[in-house]
Amino acid sequence: METEVRSKLRDFIVDTFLFGDGAEELSDEDSLLERGVIDSTGVLEVTAFLEDDLGVKVGDEDLVPDNFDSIAKLTAFVMTKRGG
């Protein structure tokens, strides 16, 4: 389950923000903010993906770097929200 979530998140981020380029250079632990992959608008787009495609309800208080700053952190956040 976790592997599938991680893969979906990676595909979404690479496709949406990098137009499919540079996937091999982006590790799961890389900071999406520091690398300039996402900004506050990008956070909104990721939120929509989490809610619409991964079925996770994101509260205002969830919108913090600890949950959103890397593919690994996003995966952990989704797994926690799903109770797994």
Partner: protein
């Protein structure tokens, strides 16, 4: 190192006014224009640019434009009229509401709001707001605040399409104003004056091809605090000098810090100055009455806004000069 105080923003306003006045004359000469068009909102920035332009070029070579619309406050209209009288300049008041109606500005904005507030009605007032940056590490994601006439305010977080929809619709206002400024500039063979201060220019608080467009920007190097000091120096009316900054874009009163900046402008100025001068957050925090961690959040917010502003400042990219390397 001595403690940082607000005095770091003090300037010799008389000398600076003279320097800018000379620069405006040189700039308009270089542009090969005969005068300047200044859109006056009744706010501090455009008022100071108007006063500097009048001092530089003479009242007979400055044309004032007042462009209120349905959501403008009454204060905007009153102060705009007061200013053109104060300057003694030729001017025209063009209510841009019909243009905005025809382009669908209000309808598109209301439709965008209805994506997250399905019962939103056109007669309701609204604005968009950001959470405080100093209180927590939460990302600054916009919410819309709506209020039916006589009813309770409601705040709902915007999703992507609603956010982009509201911004795209309200940007018609700044772009319509700029279209009219250039109409009058073309008609008179004048240059268009831009009114951003340093805070707005640096942090991208403007609409691309809207209020971001101009032929010269004479106060883009001045912090907002310094613009207020300049207003006093130039003898602008008291109600202009003491008016709090507002966006005057949404139907509900909206301060600039709830829309864009993370602190009131006086504090934002000091943070930006300190960051620009390599001052550690811990050294400026006491002057602001904030914790070091809070100032560090403001510093991060400044960097985040600069990243967004880079697009706003960018010239169109071409094959010959543009994309270098992989910016991911």
């Amino acid at each position: 190192m001595a403690a940082i105080t607000r005095d770091v923003l003090r300037i010799d306003t008389a000398a600076e006014a003279e320097r800018i006045v000379g620069w405006i004359r040189a700039a308009v000469r270089k542009l090969k224009k005969r005068g300047a068009v200044v859109a006056l909102s009744g706010g501090i920035d455009s008022s100071v640019v108007g006063a500097l332009s009048v001092r530089a070029l003479g009242p007979e070579r400055v044309f004032g434009l007042l462009m209120p619309e349905r959501d403008s406050s009454d204060e905007t209209r009153r102060l705009g009229r007061k200013l053109v009288q104060h300057f003694g300049i030729d001017h025209v008041e063009e209510d841009i509401t019909p243009i905005l109606e025809a382009s669908g500005c209000y309808l598109r904005r209301d439709e965008a709001i209805r994506r997250v507030v399905p019962d939103f009605q056109s007669g309701w007032s609204s604005k968009i707001v950001l959470p405080s940056v100093v209180e927590s590490d939460v990302f600054r994601v916009f919410s819309v605040v709506v209020q039916p006439p006589g009813g309770e305010e409601r705040k709902v977080r915007l999703d992507t399409s609603a956010y982009f929809g509201v911004v795209a619709a309200t940007n018609f206002k700044q772009r319509t104003r700029k279209m009219l400024e250039y109409h009058h500039a073309d008609r008179l063979n004048y240059a268009v004056a831009g009114t951003p201060n340093l805070l707005e220019y640096d942090q991208g608080f403007f609409v691309k091809s809207g209020d971001g467009a101009a032929d010269f920007k004479p106060i883009a190097h001045l912090y907002k605090t310094q613009v207020y000091a300049m207003a006093r120096e130039l003898g602008l009316p008291d109600d202009i000098c003491s008016r709090a900054p507002t966006t005057d874009t949404y139907s509900m009163p909206q301060s600039q810090e709830e829309f864009y900046f993370s602190l009131p402008y006086q504090d934002m100025d000091l943070c930006l100055w300190a960051k620009n001068h390599g001052v550690a957050a811990s050294e400026v925090a006491p002057a602001l009455g904030l914790e070091t961690a809070q100032v560090e959040r403001v510093y991060r917010d400044i960097d985040g806004k600069r990243a967004v502003a880079a697009y706003l400042h960018m010239e169109p990219l071409t094959i010959d000069r543009g994309v270098e390397g992989n910016e991911t």
